[in-house]
């Protein structure tokens, strides 16, 4: 299956993509919105072939942290940050890396499904290629579309109507289309910002299955409010907390089983056992 993608992108893009995605590491990351500090020196390693879940109550900085990981944070004009984010050892904020190539390597799926509503399903999948100035021939395109939709768990539902508009799909299908669209530019890391919070339980289950299947191919970082979901899909887990008037920090991070089963910090224990948040 990968061979199709390699053909599409040529040699340059295939170079140094380790199996199971890339290693992503945040070092002492702080973040501000204007003068308000929302994250305080957060460090976290997100390993290849692993799903890392970021959990914690609202407003603790999980989404901000996630958006720092692919340089979407800075699209807000009042946002600032400190620290480093290493993608296979290279700082994504260093001037030697182009912001567009960083975002190609670190894809993102948003909370609210955001397909391009007036493009066909097919064109939605290949939108990233056109946006990054890569041409694909018609036959390659067909292969790529099928492959990405399969990986996104949407192929069987849409294979007979690839020309339909992206906006005509249901919410859950739209979200899986967004996942397929992100996969088409061949990211090494996939960030997901509460991808199921706007979806019904059935769609949520389909997306969780998709995450499970993708784990071997890309590094996945998922922000979720739903602790059952974090327990179901992730191998590693980081608990964020912003106590009254202080910026968010990671209280505890480790194997999901350990964080949920025998948390070290009493605050983690309170949160995962539903005593607050």
């Amino acid at each position: 299956m990968t061979s199709t993608l390699d053909d599409v992108f040529g040699e340059a893009a295939v170079a140094e993509v380790p199996r199971g995605g890339s290693d992503l590491e945040a070092l002492d990351v702080s973040a501000w919105f204007g003068s308000a500090k929302v994250l305080d020196r957060v460090s976290l390693r997100m390993e290849p072939a692993t799903v890392t879940a970021l959990i914690g109550p609202s407003g603790c900085g999980k989404s901000t942290f996630l958006r720092i990981l692919n340089r979407m944070h800075e699209t807000n004009p009042v946002a600032a940050l400190a620290g480093e984010v290493l993608l296979d050892g290279d700082d994504i904020y260093s001037p030697t890396l182009r912001i567009t190539s960083v975002r190609q390597r670190i894809g993102m799926v948003f909370q609210k499904p955001n397909p391009f509503p007036t493009l066909s399903i097919e064109d939605n999948v290949t939108a990233g290629l056109k946006l990054t100035g890569r041409r694909v021939s018609r036959s390659e395109k067909a292969d790529l579309v099928e492959e990405c939709l399969r990986r996104g768990g949407l192929w069987n539902e849409v294979k007979d109507r690839l020309g339909d508009l992206g906006g005509a799909l249901s919410g859950g299908q739209q979200q899986r289309l967004c996942i397929a669209r992100s996969l088409a530019v061949r990211p090494d890391v996939l960030l997901m910002d509460e991808p199921c919070s706007a979806l019904d339980p059935t769609s949520t289950r389909r997306i969780e299955e998709t995450i499970h299947e993708l784990r071997d191919q890309v590094t996945i970082v998922i922000v979720t409010h739903n602790m059952q979901q974090a327990a179901r899909v992730s191998q590693r887990c980081a608990f964020f907390l912003a106590e009254q008037g202080t910026p968010g920090v990671i209280v505890e991070a480790g194997d999901t089983a350990q964080v949920f089963g025998s948390p070290v910090d009493p605050r983690t224990s309170d949160y995962v056992n539903g005593r607050f948040g």
Binding site: N70, T100, N114, A127, G128, L131
Partner: protein, 341 residues
């Protein structure tokens, strides 16, 4: 405990009592009703005033149209003293000034609107917005003087240059020798081209404001999607913002066109009246409907006044159509209405 639904009547048997919608009073308070009636009256008043203008112009033009018939639209000369009256050259001049002004204002308005919504940092953005609004507040007589004293001395050189190198295209032709050592400067002044400058400046704020409003509503989610896929900022603009704003771009431009068609004082100041039926915007002399009315109505007899008002009526109808089409386009810009790759 479970409540069971009453058993359905057997098939074919209608229920004994049919239900029907009950009357629900809207429940407006007195204050609400006063306000409601007040706004209704004001809204209707605006319609009545506009309609009355149309009716007045239409009524006044009856004698002229009866007398000259279709000839009023085909004749190009305006010599009431010889009983020769027509608006073909005047309409052509009006269109030329408006379209040329639009051609100058459109790229400026589009670029400014994109810069303001997409690139300008916060403080510069609000500064620019008020500056452009200020442009709309400058009286048109000032724009006319600006065009006459500041633009014309330089624009006539541009016109000569264009004629020298592109004069073989009829559009750029001027009936004189542009390469002569002592070139006939007055052949290049008071033209459609120069009158278009102040008109362009006057319509720019309106076009820019409409475009800016539509661009600012471009769906944030799709914009983020384009960026997160590795697209450049220009890529996101091209894919999401411009397709979404298409209606606003077209509508804003047409609203501006409506305004340009009727612009008077600045044009009167610059052009020298000429009723030749020609499309040579760089050459001296043209006439527009509003400039004709402004220039002639002071010394007009009642028959001539009727003729001027008929010209005004034609302009009124054209502008009405242009603005209505513009409003339809602006109204079409809706969330997710378009993406383009």
């Amino acid at each position: 405990m479970t409540t069971l639904l009453p058993e359905a009547p057997p098939d074919g048997d209608p229920p004994l009592v049919q239900d029907r919608p009950r009357v629900v009073s809207p429940g407006f308070t007195t204050g609400d009703q006063v306000f409601r009636r007040g706004t209704t009256v004001i809204g209707v008043l605006v319609l009545v005033i506009t309609g009355a203008i149309g009716l007045f112009l239409g009524y006044q033009s009856i004698p002229t149209l009866q007398r000259y018939g279709l000839g009023f639209f085909t004749e190009n000369q305006w010599r009431p003293e010889n009983d020769v009256i027509g608006i073909s050259s005047t309409l052509l001049g009006t269109l030329q000034v408006a379209l040329l002004a639009l051609a100058m204002a459109f790229p400026l308005a589009l670029g400014t609107a994109l810069f303001i919504t997409e690139y300008a940092p916060g403080r510069l953005r609000s500064g620019l917005v008020s500056l452009i609004d200020l442009m709309a507040a400058i009286p048109s007589i000032v724009w006319g003087l600006w065009g006459f004293f500041l633009i014309q001395p330089h624009a006539k050189n541009i016109a000569r240059w264009l004629t020298e190198y592109a004069g073989w295209v009829p559009f750029f032709h001027v009936d004189t020798d542009p390469t002569a050592a002592l070139w006939a400067q007055t052949r290049f002044t008071s033209s459609v081209f120069i009158a278009s400058f102040p008109v362009a400046m006057m319509i720019l704020p309106m076009a820019c404001a409409v475009m800016r409003g539509v661009f600012a509503q471009a769906p944030a989610g799709e914009r983020e999607a384009a960026l997160a896929l590795g697209g450049t900022q220009w890529g996101a603009i091209r894919t999401v913002v411009i397709p979404f704003g298409q209606g606003g771009i077209i509508g804003g431009t047409m609203l501006a066109l409506g305004r340009a068609l009727g612009e008077t004082i600045a044009v009167v100041l610059i052009i020298s009246p000429d009723f030749d039926l020609k499309v040579r915007p760089l050459e001296v002399g043209t006439e527009t409907v509003s400039a004709l009315i402004a220039g002639r109505f002071g010394e007009a007899t009642s028959a001539q006044l009727s003729a001027l008002l008929t010209a005004g009526f034609v302009l009124f109808l054209i502008t009405l159509v242009v603005n209505t089409v513009a409003a339809i386009f602006v109204g079409r810009s809706r969330s997710g209405s378009a993406t383009d790759l």
